[in-house]
């Protein structure tokens, strides 16, 4: 159970499905407007339960505790063959005598 002072993420529903702004398209009307924010836990709390945090701007925010020590998981993805081909192609165009070789 995350302790007081732990770095956590909380979650809230800001506007439930069906209460979205009128100009929003149908598929978005059917889902809630959700919010996530990170901060330091003010008192020991259980995952999935309501808790209060202090954010980096100093605000106190109440929300459902959804993540203890949230990681940044975005990365550089897979190698993309379609991009890897480009460098050799354009170098062959600019400097054919050096880069003109072919595997075939």
């Amino acid at each position: 159970m995350p302790e007081k002072g732990a770095w956590v993420e909380v979650y809230n529903i800001v506007l439930p499905a069906g209460s979205r702004a009128p100009q929003v398209p149908r598929d978005t009307q059917d889902v809630p407007l959700e919010m996530r924010v990170r901060g330091f836990l003010l008192a020991e709390a259980e995952l999935g339960k309501e808790c209060t945090i202090r954010t980096l701007s100093g605000r106190q925010v109440k929300g459902i505790l959804v993540n203890d020590s949230p990681r940044h998981v975005h990365d550089f993805g897979e190698p993309v063959r379609e991009l890897l081909e480009i460098g050799p192609e354009v170098r062959r165009m600019l400097w054919p005598s050096l880069w003109g070789g072919s595997d075939e």
């Binding site: 100009q23 978005t28 924010v37 701007s57």
Partner: protein, 472 residues
């Protein structure tokens, strides 16, 4: 105080005045027109003073780099005598890695000067990190509100990276799922904290971009002894175009063509939960570029200081695949690894330079930083995970939200023109509709003509179309 959606939205003007410290009603001139230049002067800083303020936090004075290998490549494809010099303004050299820091520098300076304790910005773009970095340097608190997730909780990798960067500078990052009600959350936060609204669209923010156009003009004239012939500017909300064009004019570049460039995302709905993660570009695209050109006052301030139709000479689109392709060219031929979104106007540069004479000068006025998430491999991997097909071929075959086509050679990268006069007509129609004015007087006609960079006859023609002929 009532915090319901309707109640907060109805208080929006009051919240805005408190959060920008500028009473916009003083600039209004009747139901339709307003005093644009008067509003811009209210920022109250000369370009020299703006440069000074930016220098205090190491913003600006970025290198202007000639892309010699790309030039050679373009000249090989172009007819004899064609193929302009291609220069790029390396805006990634700003502290937080993008030109947006110029905008943020002025906003945060203004907030500190007016005694605000913190700043809030509503943005999923590089502007968040820019405001966070500036707030860090000036010792202010900072909150960045981002639209990040779809209803599956899946975040755009590019926006996740921007959020991480904001946090690295000590900002609170409030992440939301898809929807324009972000504005409602933003208003609630302004009310709760009393912080400054570091809007992208205040006169201060636009004054901050003017130094970019000014530097480009000065650097080109000093080095090459002539004005730049064309400056290509990525266009989304209009601030980049407006500020750069105004700066060019202040540098004396009165013959330079101002060209806006957006990524073509036509057919995708910007507020759709389903479409949100089917695009690889989260800004600099037609989903912002077209609506903000035809109605600038949809922004988070009563009157938008970014008014692109006042300055654009030409507006073109490029495809997502073309931007990824030139991002690769910039790394592989020029040794500059930069973020793809910042290379939007570079994609248009290939075909536009090929139309221009060899002794002419084309400037691409930005680059942005790259990193995890904000990288072609990250974004194409994410696209594939979301069911988008990625293949080589002719980019003309691309379908936003379904198919990304990476060109097979530089000759396939072709900027596509958007009819600016159609956008101008659409702007005038919007202005008439929203103001309720059916027969504008001479002053209002003059205002509309300036708004769309056309003559009075053009404006009168559109008014006739709308009202079905002038009432006698």
């Amino acid at each position: 105080m009532n915090k319901s959606y309707e109640a907060v939205m109805s208080r929006k003007n009051k919240i805005m005045i408190d959060a920008v410290g500028l009473d916009y009603t003083q600039f209004e001139r009747g139901p339709l027109a307003f005093d644009y230049e008067g509003m811009m002067r209210s920022a109250g800083y000369s370009i020299e003073r703006v440069k000074q303020i930016q220098a205090e936090t190491s913003v600006g004075d970025t290198p202007l780099i000639e892309l010699r290998n790309l030039e050679t490549l373009v000249r090989r494809m172009a007819p004899p005598g064609k193929g302009a010099r291609i220069l790029v303004k390396d805006e990634a050299a700003n502290p937080s890695g993008s030109f947006k820091e110029r905008r943020a520098a002025l906003s945060v300076y203004q907030a500190a000067k007016q005694g605000y304790k913190g700043v809030i910005a509503a943005t999923s773009g590089n502007y968040g990190a820019a405001v966070a970095s500036q707030a860090a340097m000036r010792g202010l608190k900072c909150i960045v509100v981002q639209e990040v997730y779809d209803s599956r909780g899946l975040g755009q990798p590019e926006i996740l990276e921007k959020g991480r960067r904001c946090e690295a500078y000590g900002a609170e990052v409030l992440q939301l799922s898809v929807g324009p009600e972000l504005f409602y959350v933003f208003l609630l936060l302004l009310e709760e904290t009393g912080f400054f609204n570091a809007s992208l669209y205040t006169p201060f923010a636009i004054a901050g971009v003017e130094t970019l156009g000014y530097e480009v003009g000065r650097q080109v004239m000093e080095r090459y002894g002539r004005q730049p012939d064309a400056v290509l500017i990525t266009h989304a909300g209009g601030g980049n175009v407006t500020g750069t064009a105004r700066g060019l004019l202040q540098a004396g570049c009165d013959r330079t063509k101002v060209v806006g460039v957006s990524v073509d995302l036509s057919g995708l709905h910007m507020a759709s939960d389903r479409d949100f993660n089917r695009k690889s570009f989260t800004t600099g695209h037609t989903g912002f570029g077209v609506p903000f050109a035809t109605w600038p006052d949809r922004a988070d301030v009563p009157r938008n200081a970014a008014r692109p139709l006042r300055y654009l000479d030409r507006y073109v689109t490029v495809t997502q695949g073309e931007v990824f392709y030139v991002t690769e060219l910039l790394a592989q031929l020029e040794g500059l690894e930069r973020g793809p979104a910042g290379n939007t106007s570079l994609a248009a540069a290939l075909s536009i330079a090929a139309e221009m004479d060899e002794d002419q000068i084309l400037v691409v006025q930005e680059t942005e930083y790259t990193g995890a998430g904000k990288h072609p491999t990250a974004q194409l991997t994410f696209a594939r995970q979301n069911g988008i097909t990625v293949r080589r071929g002719d980019p003309a075959e691309s379908i936003p939200g379904e198919l990304i086509v990476i060109p097979e050679g530089p000759h396939q990268v072709k900027a596509k023109d958007i009819d600016l006069s159609a956008l101008a007509r659409s702007y005038i129609r919007n202005a008439l509709e929203r103001s309720g004015v059916r027969q504008p007087d001479e002053f209002e006609i003059e205002f509309l003509a300036k708004e769309v960079k056309r003559d009075r006859e053009f404006v009168k023609g559109v008014i006739d179309e709308v009202t079905g002929g002038r009432e006698k």
